[in-house]
């Protein structure tokens, strides 16, 4: 296994910059997810690491080698593709053996490695089958096996679960996580599904528009998103973002909503707002950090329920506030009717404040 370093990686297609100065360090044995919406540059970044796309500028280091000019086969990587990319005319055995044959290993060694990989992935009984005789999950396991037999320094996975149905995806998610734990493998995993990234990765790199937005542990990214994009992309349902105006009333800093309500800020949050260069502030809050009251309590804001979505364990209430929709979760025992008058209380310690112009998170210090 090896660590991977991306230094100021750039990929341009004509005038279009698909990857913009991305710098990342992936430690030995670390599981890193590249996550972002379609077209954010995550797959391009992975292809750059794999050597399937040439680098425009910047540097890729795998282990202790700069691999910019090496062919994919010389980079000591293995890749798992979205559509499995199994060779349809070859049996499972031959699919697994193929990368070893290409490396001209002796056939008894190939046999040993293939059978070992098949045993690890529990598909010894499938070795003689053709890919089209396998289910999606089995095909994906063969694709993992084909990467595994190589014993590469780095595993690259390009949305490996997105072709599977929802139930199988959850199952394979834990299988891949287990695979990582057992092998202590360095894995770079591309996904557009933030849930996959959050549940599997040691660290996640959130990308958008070719830029790396934030690179941290899922817990940190979840708790301290650096900007509004990350805040709204990570977490489900998405963080509610309410545009407000910062002001001071009788010496106390407050946020003023479009409907005229006032929210007194805690000293910590007041400090953040005081540092802001603009009066336009966006208040961010996750559904679990907002309390719903049926009557006015000190510090709460009046709102009107819009829709109510029971999901079983919890019920989501959407409310209109300052032109935005705010998601609040309540226990299923709390009955809320659409259009009912409610009051929302924000947890000031877990509330997020963003600069309304730069969209960056406001910092206290």
């Amino acid at each position: 296994m090896a660590h991977v370093v991306l230094n100021d990686l750039v990929k341009t297609y004509g005038a279009f910059k698909a990857v913009n100065n991305v710098s990342l360090t992936i430690n030995d044995g670390e599981f890193v997810a590249l996550v972002g919406p379609s077209g954010c540059g995550k797959t391009t970044t992975l292809n750059l690491v794999a050597g399937l796309t040439s680098v425009s500028s910047g540097e890729i280091v795998i282990g202790d080698r700069v691999v910019n000019d090496l062919d994919p086969k010389d980079r000591d990587i293995a890749m798992v593709f979205q559509n499995y990319a199994l060779y349809p005319q070859k049996s499972v055995y031959k699919n697994l053996a193929f990368p070893l044959q290409m490396r001209k290993l002796p056939s008894d060694e190939i046999d040993k490695k293939v059978r070992e990989a098949a045993r690890v992935l529990d598909m010894t009984q499938l070795l003689e089958r053709k890919p089209r005789e396998l289910s999606g999950g089995q095909q994906q396991r063969v694709a993992l096996g084909r990467a595994l037999v190589r014993d590469p320094a780095v595993f690259l996975m390009d949305e490996p679960l997105s072709n599977l149905d929802a139930k199988l995806r959850v199952q394979m998610r834990s299988e891949i996580k287990r695979f990582h734990q057992d092998l202590k493998a360095t894995i770079i995993y591309v996904t557009h599904d933030q849930l996959e990234a959050v549940t599997m990765a040691d660290r996640m790199a959130v990308m958008s528009g070719g830029y790396l937005q934030q690179y941290d542990t899922p817990a940190q990214v979840f708790a301290h998103p650096v900007n509004m994009f990350v805040a709204s992309f990570i977490g489900s349902p998405a963080m509610s973002l309410v545009p407000v105006e910062a002001s001071t009333e009788e010496g106390a800093p407050v946020l003023i909503g479009a409907e005229g309500w006032r929210l007194q800020l805690s000293p910590h949050n007041a400090q953040k707002v005081a540092k802001a260069k603009t009066k336009k502030v966006v208040l961010g809050a996750r559904h679990s950090t907002i309390k719903l009251h049926k009557s006015a309590v000190p510090g709460s804001i009046p709102a009107r329920a819009y829709t109510v979505e029971p999901t079983g364990d919890i019920t989501f209430v959407q409310a209109f506030l300052s032109g935005a929709i705010v998601n609040v979760s309540v226990p299923p025992t709390v009955a809320v009717a659409p259009d009912e008058q409610i009051w929302l209380e924000f947890d000031q310690d877990r509330m997020h404040l963003f600069d309304g112009e730069t969209e960056m998170a406001l910092q206290a210090s």
Partner: protein
């Protein structure tokens, strides 16, 4: 309500009970009606001529007699064919012609398809130029090649002499030993674009992801071709080769116009030979017997063609 009414109607028409086959036919009675006109036309223009050819193959049609006064000779025509030395010459020519033309057209067409599959400047123009031999009239092409090969005025001969490679222009199509290869070259020139187009279409269906996977797995360009591209093209290759083989077996224009089968039968293939027997020498019976044999051979080729096609469908269905 509607469903109930429909059921009553069916019962009213006395749908045959039980009897799997009868019932199937009855259920599809309208479908038979739809294909009936086509079947009628086929019977008139295909089935009847086939029947008449088979019938004629058992008769002798001596010159001077009208066709209706033909003489029944049993299997004589067939034994005459199989014992004649010309039959074996023509059969050998046909096999060489078919196998060499098919194989080399396919290889050349495939090579061109691979070359044109990459993106480079002028690819579109080159592709258009390479298709020309296939779209121009075979008759015109045959006359042009006849001149190109001409032993006195041919450009190839002139170039060879100018280069000092030979003293006299070679006799491409007037010599027993060179005539067949010379015609095969023309045939390949004419039909390799067909193979090229087929294989170019096939190449576009090779999944890019598989090629990238093979690249990561360490396969070089040749290994990617051999392990990914070529297996993927197996079905389209089979179909292309079969279509070429049938077309070559049935070739007529190029050999007939360029040499008429000569010199001394050296470039006669089955079709030109049959044509000459029937329309040149009025030996309808023997020509018909030849045609029946050819029919059997082509039907078996056709069988493999259909099987290759339906094999494709099954595979597509499974994926």
């Amino acid at each position: 309500m509607t469903i109930l009414t429909g059921k009553a109607e069916t019962v009213g028409r006395r749908r045959p009970e039980g009897g799997g086959l009868l019932r199937k036919i009855w259920d599809h009675r309208a479908d038979y009606g739809y294909v009936l006109p086509a079947i009628a036309v086929m019977l008139i223009v295909i089935a009847y001529p086939i029947y008449y050819t088979i019938e004629l193959s058992f008769f002798a049609t001596p010159p001077g007699l009208q066709l209706r006064d033909k003489v029944f000779v049993g299997l004589n025509n067939y034994t005459a064919i199989l014992t004649s030395p010309v039959f074996w010459t023509v059969t050998k020519n046909t096999l060489i012609w078919t196998v060499a033309s098919t194989f080399l057209s396919f290889v050349l067409g495939f090579a061109c398809a691979l070359a044109l599959h990459r993106d480079f400047l002028g690819r579109g123009i080159l592709r258009a130029i390479l298709i020309i031999p296939w779209v121009i009239s075979a008759v015109a092409a045959s006359y042009i090649w006849k001149w190109i090969y001409h032993s006195d005025f041919g450009i190839i001969g002139a170039v060879l002499v100018a280069l000092g490679w030979t003293d006299r222009p070679p006799n491409f199509i007037d010599s027993v030993s060179t005539v067949l290869p010379s015609l095969i070259v023309v045939n390949i020139w004419r039909e390799f674009p067909f193979a090229m187009i087929m294989m170019m279409a096939g190449l576009q269906t090779v999944p890019d992801q598989l090629l990238r996977a093979a690249k990561v797995d360490g396969a070089n360009a040749w290994q990617r071709f051999w392990h990914v591209t070529f297996p993927h093209l197996r079905n389209v290759s089979t179909v292309t080769i079969l279509l070429l083989a049938v077309a070559n077996f049935n070739s007529f224009i190029i050999p007939w116009i360029m040499t008429g089968g000569g010199p001394s039968n050296a470039s006669h293939i089955w079709i030109t030979h049959i044509y000459e027997l029937a329309f040149g020498r009025q030996r309808w019976g023997v020509a018909s017997a030849y045609s029946v044999l050819l029919f059997v051979i082509l039907m078996s080729l056709g069988y493999f063609y259909v099987r290759a096609l339906s094999g494709n469908e099954q595979k597509d269905g499974a994926e």
